[in-house]
Every structure is written in structure tokens, then in C-alpha cells.
Symmetry: C2
Subunit: 336 residues, 2 copies
């Protein structure tokens, strides 16, 4: 099958010029005669010549590639990965493509496939790490890597020694609180993991409680029971919460998957949404729009997040923008 690929020497011969001229012409270097350039381009086209990226990258010492690592839960089915990360992956792909860069993706879950040497091996110019913070072993591995000099930026929780970026969670929490208050809700609850390595959850809760405090309201804080995934945790959390606090009329869930579970739990308890209980999630995942009623949520600007992550990863300036916050907006739909 594999037919011998033509090299720049073949193109040179066909165009009747030297190999160096072929290289210059094809790269668009200045100072190449227009007529020569055209002849080279024609010869390349005729031969189906494409520059060898390994040879090129080796010389240039740059691969124009970004490596994207997505950390998964061990043993997790790929289709069960939080859709937020798939959406972020898609936006990162768009951002890299807009720069003419390639995207190398790697889903990692256990020591069997932990890898952080994409930049060290020359395969990528920069690396981005996203995914669940529930995988402690993975983050320990990447902490170690960062400390030993394998550089990258990441999305979400991590503090030092990571270079991170995340949503404006505090503001998201405040927006949720104000939305509930404006709708006349007074018996509020926050459902989310407490003291999770996912600092983002705490930030959402803190923004929520701070805004409510200004109205003299203290929400119930409900930690979801352990469960196989966020959705299952949400179902259980709603049941527990309503059993203990039957008067609750509004719930802010720390993530959409959790919120979708809460929605299901509320239905199981015979509560109407939003009539009896209003509900707001966080993330803006597609599945929220498919729920009935559609989930009201705090939606981070995921394209902005992707663009900022790529820029931050590529800027070799010690990641001065570490700590950048991505804006969020309240998407008012059916549940609140």
C-alpha cells in the first residue's frame, strides 16, 4: 500500500531548482522569485508532495502541537466522562486549530497510562490538563511532574504548584442567589461536595452564601452522599435534603450533573419544579437543555476558557496569568 513519499529533492528535480529553494518557496520565505515560487508550487502539487513534519519539527524545534490530557475516573466508561470536559475539549480543539496547531489528546486514569512528557519528547509545544479532580493518584502524579520541570497549565481546582485557570465561581454563586431572591424564594439550599479537592465547588458555595447573607438568609448546606457518579449523588441528596427540610423552595447544585440528579430526586419526592422547588445548576452542559423542564444553569464562556488556556500554555512567560477567571452567565431556562 504505502507508496514512497516524495521528498523536497524530488520536487526540486521536477521544478529544476535546488532543494533549498524548494524549502524556501514552500515555506513562503521572502526573497524567492515569484516565477520560481510558482514553478515549485506546481511541481509539489503534481507530485502530491507534503512537507515531512518530523523533519521540519526536528529542525525547527517546534511541533506546533498542543497536548491535552483529560483525567478520568479509574475504570470509568468513556461515555460517562462529564460532558463538560468533552465540550471543553471541543473548544480547545477549535482554539488550537485557529492557530494552525495540532491537538494531541490523551485520556489518563491510572499509573498504567499516566504520562506528562509530551513537551519533553518534543511531541508538543505546550500541555493542558483538564478532567476530574476526584482522581487523587492522577493529580499526585502531575504535581510530581510539574515540580520536576514538566510544565503545563490546568483547568479547575489545583492551587500550587499548578498554573491554573477556572470559572468565576464566586460570581456564579452570587448570580444564583440573586436569581432565587428576585423570584421570592427564601428557603434555600446548596447541594455540593464539601472540602473537595475541587476547590471550584467551595467557591460556588461561598459566593452563594455571601450573597444570601446580605439578605439575612443562611442556606442549608447539603453534602451529597457517596455514589457511583454525580447524577446518582444528586438523586440521593435531594431525597435526604427534602426529608430533613421539607420547606426548601430553591436548590443551587454545584454542577449540572448533580443538578440533573437533584431534579430526578425532586420528582421522586413528588415535588414540582419550579413551582414547589426552583433549581439552578452549574456548567451549561447540553443535557441540561434536554431535561424537562430545561435546567437553569450558570454557564461559563467555554470558548473564552479554551482560548485562554491555549494562550496561557503557549506563552512561555512563567504563566503570569495563572489564576485567570472565566466569566459566567446565568442561563435562565425552565427550572428557576
Amino acid at each position: 500500500m504505502k507508496t514512497l513519499r516524495p521528498t523536497s529533492f524530488d520536487v526540486a528535480e521536477r521544478a529544476g531548482v535546488s532543494q533549498s529553494t524548494v524549502s524556501r518557496a514552500l515555506r513562503g520565505s521572502p526573497g524567492v522569485n515569484a516565477e520560481t515560487r510558482a514553478r515549485v508550487a506546481a511541481a509539489a502539487r503534481e507530485l502530491g508532495y507534503v512537507v515531512d513534519r518530523h523533519a521540519s519539527s526536528l529542525r525547527l524545534k517546534s511541533s506546533e502541537t498542543i497536548a491535552l490530557v483529560t483525567i478520568c475516573r479509574p475504570g470509568e466508561d468513556r461515555s460517562a466522562i462529564n460532558p463538560f470536559y468533552f465540550a471543553l475539549l471541543g473548544s480547545i480543539a477549535a482554539a488550537t486549530s485557529a492557530r494552525g496547531f495540532n491537538l494531541l489528546v490523551s485520556f489518563q486514569e491510572s499509573a498504567a497510562n499516566f504520562r506528562a512528557d509530551f513537551v519533553a519528547s518534543g511531541l508538543a509545544d505546550a500541555m493542558i490538563v483538564i478532567g476530574t479532580t476526584s482522581n487523587r493518584a492522577a493529580w499526585d502524579y502531575f504535581r510530581e511532574a510539574q515540580v520536576s520541570g514538566l510544565d503545563f497549565v490546568c483547568w479547575g481546582s489545583p492551587g500550587a504548584p499548578f498554573h491554573w485557570m477556572r470559572s468565576d465561581n464566586e460570581r456564579g454563586g452570587r448570580l444564583a442567589a440573586e436569581h432565587f431572591i428576585a423570584a421570592g424564594r427564601r428557603h434555600l439550599a446548596f447541594v455540593g461536595p464539601q472540602r473537595s479537592p475541587q476547590r471550584q465547588f467551595d467557591e460556588r458555595r461561598d459566593g452563594f452564601t455571601a450573597a444570601l447573607a446580605a439578605h439575612g438568609i443562611a442556606p442549608v448546606i447539603a453534602e451529597p452522599p457517596a455514589g457511583p457518579d454525580r447524577h446518582a449523588q444528586g438523586v440521593a441528596a435531594a431525597r435526604d435534603l427534602l426529608a430533613r427540610h421539607p420547606g426548601i423552595d430553591a436548590i443551587f447544585a454545584a454542577s449540572d450533573m448533580l443538578a440533573l440528579g437533584v431534579l430526578q430526586g425532586l420528582r421522586d419526592m413528588g415535588r414540582r419544579v419550579p413551582d414547589d422547588v426552583a433549581l439552578i445548576g452549574f456548567d451549561g452542559i447540553r443535557a441540561g437543555t434536554l431535561a424537562d423542564p430545561a435546567l437553569t444553569t450558570l454557564e461559563p464562556d467555554i470558548d473564552a476558557a479554551a482560548e485562554a488556556l491555549v494562550a496561557m500554555a503557549l506563552e512561555d512567560d512563567g504563566h503570569t496569568r495563572s489564576g485567570t477567571r472565566i466569566p459566567v452567565r446565568l442561563a435562565a431556562r425552565g427550572t428557576a
Copy 2:
């Protein structure tokens, strides 16, 4: 920031051997003294040395990388990509990783970013194309590419000149029919695009109608009206269908996104699911399990599909396995 990366010569010096020995020791070539090998490994570790993949690939003429192209709808938000493709992407990543290969991903939607030269440029050893068949321009581009010698395999519809693989759609349709019949349903309908370039839809319908014919039943075939996405089309299709055929008691939708829309449409029409109308989708996407009631669906073995696609792409045997069918199973959940 960028500190000079050590080369195999640096390792050689530190280990007190020649550079060729370093290369052999690190690659695990036979005939290297165990003690020498250990000394080289230690020196490499101490220096934080990682083999340069461009130099290595250039010599080896192989990159141990698979390129995965996902075709999107023009102008489509990345978070709106059918989750089935994200799940397939995840499984393909797992399959490539299991072979020690890297995965290069590229989302393409318009002439601005059409590219099929990943193998020609040496960036990848093989290429896989998945994604929506609704993007005609994209498939025209890839047809052209295939004809001109840029080889790849794809998922889904395409016939010649493509090397393709898809679900056992015909059998899926039969399973849906039998499931409905066994439950006593007799007024059946199929909702799906007709004569779409997505041949898979026709196959699902044909399996469905063939199995029903054996029971002397002819289902109503409903083509969904045009719409911004499959979900919206499903909502509208359900309304039209029920208005015209109020007695329908079971619907087989050509895909899960369509089915989720149908579910919504049935609710809008005041029909209870599954009591009044039973519903089955196709794809096994996660969002189906979050619906209320959870969507019964035909679930292709996506890990098997991914593994087969990778194997097929990598096998340089003229893709003799073109036309492979991936097994599907009926996942009975709440809607049927």
C-alpha cells in the same frame, strides 16, 4: 523557561558509553549488557532525558500516532456535537493508548479547516474519520482525498470509495420490532430521516419493517421536519405523527437525540410514556439514561467499534475488513 533538553549524547557521556549504545539500551534492543543497560537508564533518569520523538520518527518513518478527524456541522457549537461521537472519540483514545499510540484529533467543518494529509505529512500512521454525514462539503472533500490517495477509514454511512465500518443497524431494527411486539404493541411508527446520506438510518428502518412484516404489520414511516438539530426535529416529528395517527402506541426513532426529542414531543401532546406510547432510540448515549423515564435504546458496542476502527486503519492490507458490522444490544430501560 525552556531549558536545553538533554540529548542521547549527554546521556552517553554521563554513562560513559557511546551514543549508539544509549539508543540501543533505551530502546530495549537485544544484545546490550545488562549492567550497561542499567547504567544508561540511570544516567537518563538523572538527566531527565526523554527520546526526541521527531528525530526518532524521522529515522523510523513511523510516528505511532493515529489521526482522528471528526466532521461537525458548519457553525455548530462544539458542545452541541452529538455525544455519540464524543463517546466514540473516547473509546478510540483508549484503543490507541492501549497500543502505545498517540491520538491527534481534528474537528473539521468547512473549507477553512479541511485537512486530510496527516498521514502524508508523517504526522500519523493512519487516519480515522467520524462525525456527521449532514456536512456534504466535508464528505465531498474526503471523497476527493481518498481518490487522490490519502487513505483512511471511516465510521458510518459512506459507501465507495470509502473504507467504512458501522453498527449492525438492520439487526438493531429487528430487535426494536420484536421488543415492541412482545410487549403487545401493534400500532407502530418509525421516525427518521429518509434517504439521508446517513445510510445507517435506512438500515435501521429496513430491519424494523422487515421484522414487523413477519407479523403482518406495516409501520408508519415518519420523516421528521427540518430543524436546527436532531432533538428539535424529534419534538416536531412526534407532534405531527400523533396528530395524524393518534392511535400510535410505539415509536422507534433512528437515533437517541431524535428519540429524546420525540419523548419531549409526546409529553407535550399529553401522552404518557411508556403507558400510552412506548419508545426506543438508537446509540446508547448517556443523556438517554438521564431522561425520565430513561430511554430504552439499541446500544452499539462502542469499545469494539473503536478497537476495530483502529485495527482496520493500521492494517495496511487494503482494508479488507471494510464493511465490518459492530454488534448492538437492546438496553431495556424505562420507555419501552
